[in-house]
Every structure is written in structure tokens, then in C-alpha cells.
């Protein structure tokens, strides 16, 4: 397995190096053609505002509402008996809204632990090309989740604060070419309440997300979030691979993953399935955008 991972990393490195050269060539060629090249922001690094389970460096436009419906099914290893996991389903629905081109807010609700979650996502640095360009984007995200499922008796030992978890995330990403984007997203998660005496309330993880465009409307995406410290005992690193398919205003993200959780707290602390042992689930993210506020002419 290590060999496969090393192989994948090598391929990634080769692709990445090639694309850096390609991007530089493109920039130089553009500069040759005109004396009045303007600074332009780089768009469509990812098709969606999520890689698969993690936030991506992509933003909604100002005044755009993204209605998101996510499903994660049961593990596929039981085969046809439960239709490769389709008999079991977990879901999250959410609404993300672009307050500005660099500011998005969102809320969602998952059936797992009946959790509500919300986030604010801000882009202080936007990758651009042309004079004074910046070669990468930096995105800051803060979010929280709230367990609404009742605690068991004796309920009086639990306070409202015990329902909460918080996360802070930084995304540093670059669209290397039309075909390839890569991002690193370190995450810090804090849970106010953990199950065991020896469990850590703080978790650090380093997400890696990549997108390789295959055709005009499809792309291959990988989303891997290794946990660096504070791991909840028995849990595994969430990993998802899949395809983005764009059809008009919809983006379908079809994927295979070992994580059921669909918010940061859930997928970082509750993923007990092992991707490499075949404990894989089919899942999809469905995203439909609506322009609520039109741009002023």
C-alpha cells in the first residue's frame, strides 16, 4: 500500500511540475500579445465549493445561493444483498450563500446526531494573473456544529456548551492549469465534549484536495484529510475519490469514501471505516445554484 501511495505522490509531483511550467508559458505568451494586460482573478479552480467533504478554494459569486443535498450510503462490501449499501443512507442538506465574491456563509443539517452546522468562509488572497498577480489563493474558514439530538439521562450533567464543536481552517490552493488544481487545508477542530477520559478535545489535520479535469464537464477529484494529532481512538483518516459532473446549474459529485460524516466535526471524529480494507461507501453531493441578487448593470 505504501508503494502505491509513493507512486501516486510521484505521479502527482510530475504532473504538478509540468503544469507549473505550462502555467508560466501561458502567462508569458499572454504578455507578448498585449501591452495593456490587466490583472485577472483565476476562477473555477474547483467545480464546487467543496472538494468532496472538505471546503475547496472555490467561492460562490455574490448573491448566489447554493442548495446542497449530500448522501452517504452504506458500505459496498455486502454486495447485492443491500444493493451495495444503497439500503442505508445518511444525509445532509445545506444552504450556502455568497455575500460577496470573497465571502460565503452556509448552514446545514445532518441526520447523524441530528447535527446543525454553520460556517463563514473568507478569501483574503485570490489567485490572479497579469501585473501584480498572486500565484495562489488563501481562504480562511471558521465554523461550528451543534448536536441537537437529546443527551441521555441523567441529562442535567450536560450543558448547552457540550453540544458544540468548532473548527478553524486555512486553505492554500492554486489552479496550476485549466486541468489541474491542488490545495492544502490545515484544520483545527475543538470539541467541547469528548467520550473518553483520555480522548483529546483538540484535533489537528492536514487536508489535501486535488482536481484533474477530464473533459469540459467532468473532473476527477481526490479529498484526503490525514489526522495529525488528537485522533479519536479507533478512527481512520477520511479519504474520498470521485468525479465532478457539471450539468447546467447542477454539479453532481459522485464518489467513494470511508467517511459518513458530512461536516468537519463528523468526518474528522467519526470515521471508523478503513478505506484500504474495502470499507467504502458510495456517496454523492448534489449542488444547485440560484442567482438571488442580480449584478447591477
Amino acid at each position: 500500500m505504501k508503494k502505491i501511495l509513493v507512486g501516486c505522490l510521484l505521479v502527482l509531483a510530475v504532473v504538478l511540475t509540468g503544469n507549473v511550467t505550462y502555467a508560466q508559458d501561458q502567462d508569458l505568451l499572454k504578455e507578448l500579445g498585449s501591452d495593456s494586460v490587466k490583472k485577472e482573478h483565476v476562477k473555477n479552480a474547483f467545480k464546487s465549493s467543496r472538494v468532496i467533504h472538505s471546503h475547496s478554494m472555490e467561492f460562490l459569486g455574490k448573491g448566489v445561493l447554493d442548495v446542497r443535498i449530500l448522501h452517504r450510503f452504506g458500505t459496498v462490501d455486502n454486495g447485492i444483498k443491500d444493493l451495495f449499501g444503497l439500503d442505508e443512507a445518511n444525509m445532509r442538506f445545506g444552504f450556502d450563500y455568497g455575500l460577496g465574491n470573497n465571502l460565503t456563509v452556509g448552514i446545514g443539517r445532518s441526520n447523524l446526531n441530528k447535527e446543525l452546522d454553520g460556517f463563514i468562509k473568507f478569501r483574503p488572497v485570490w489567485q490572479s494573473q497579469g501585473p501584480g498577480s498572486v500565484p495562489f489563493s488563501v481562504v480562511l474558514i471558521t465554523g461550528m456544529s451543534l448536536r441537537t439530538q437529546d443527551f441521555p439521562e441523567p441529562q442535567d450533567v450536560y450543558k448547552f456548551k457540550h453540544r458544540l464543536a468548532f473548527y478553524q481552517e486555512v486553505i492554500i490552493g492554486r489552479k496550476f492549469s485549466e486541468a489541474f488544481s491542488l490545495q492544502l487545508n490545515p484544520i483545527y477542530l475543538h470539541r467541547n465534549l469528548v467520550p473518553g477520559t483520555n480522548d483529546d478535545n483538540n484535533i489537528w489535520a492536514l487536508g489535501v484536495g486535488g482536481r484533474m479535469k477530464l473533459t469540459k464537464r467532468t473532473a476527477f477529484v481526490v479529498d484526503y484529510t490525514p489526522i495529525l494529532s488528537g485522533r479519536q481512538p479507533g478512527t481512520k483518516d477520511p479519504l474520498a475519490v470521485g468525479f465532478d459532473i457539471e450539468t447546467g446549474g447542477h454539479v453532481f459529485q459522485l464518489h467513494f469514501t470511508n467517511a459518513t460524516g458530512m461536516n468537519e466535526k463528523a468526518f474528522l471524529t467519526s470515521t471508523t471505516s478503513d478505506f484500504w480494507k474495502g470499507e467504502i461507501r458510495f456517496g454523492f453531493n448534489l449542488s444547485r445554484v440560484f442567482t438571488i441578487r442580480k449584478k447591477k448593470e
Partner: protein, 115 residues
């Protein structure tokens, strides 16, 4: 405007009110089930309905199979106890709260009564 947004963001990011509580310490349990009135109908079945029946619903072939009624749950009681005490179950949903684990544990240890 940008400065205001950044300031707002930082204020939200530096959250207040974090605690480092442990469920096991809030609900200390020394293995003694005296005083724990674990009822099948009022405690065990609702916990299993809320947390297990996504994967162990009617017709399930996962692990011990369906866990929808007393007989099925009784037959799988030892496996259920081991799985929830170790935190292995519910799968991909995190361990149950300590008080729920204690209810299941004490119900199994008391001989799985249909009470």
C-alpha cells in the same frame, strides 16, 4: 469594508466558551449497576432505534443482522454490549454518550430483561 470583514472574521474565529470536558468524567461509572434502572422499552430500544437501525433495520445482513425487536436485540446482546462499550459501534457515527453505554451495559449484565 474589507477591514471590517477581516475584523469580524477574526472575532468569530477567536471563539469564547470552549471547554475540555470528558463524558466519562461527567458520568463516572465504576462498573456497579446498582441504581441504574435500565429498561428495555424505555432505554435500550430507543437508543438502538436512534443509533443502529440505519444499518440494522429490517432485513439487514450487517453483523448480527436486524435489531428491531426484543428477540433480535436479546440474541445479539453480548455483541451489542462489546461493540458499544469499545466505541466500535455505531459505525462511523462516533461512540455513544457514556450514559447510553451504561444503560446498554447494565441491561445486558442484568440478563436482558424484557422490561
Amino acid at each position: 469594508m474589507k477591514k471590517v470583514l477581516i475584523t469580524l472574521f477574526v472575532c468569530l474565529a477567536v471563539f469564547i466558551g470552549c471547554t475540555n470536558d470528558k463524558d466519562e468524567l461527567l458520568n463516572p461509572f465504576n462498573g456497579d449497576c446498582t441504581g441504574v434502572n435500565a429498561s428495555f422499552a424505555n432505554d435500550v430500544l430507543p437508543i438502538i432505534q436512534a443509533n443502529c437501525q440505519g444499518c440494522h433495520g429490517a432485513g439487514s445482513t450487517n453483523g448480527p443482522g436486524a435489531l428491531t425487536n426484543y428477540d433480535q436485540i436479546k440474541n445479539a446482546a453480548a455483541r451489542i454490549k462489546n461493540a458499544v462499550v469499545s466505541g466500535y459501534m455505531p459505525k462511523d457515527a462516533g461512540p455513544l454518550p457514556a450514559a447510553e453505554i451504561r444503560k446498554i451495559r447494565c441491561w445486558v449484565d442484568s440478563g436482558t430483561p424484557n422490561n
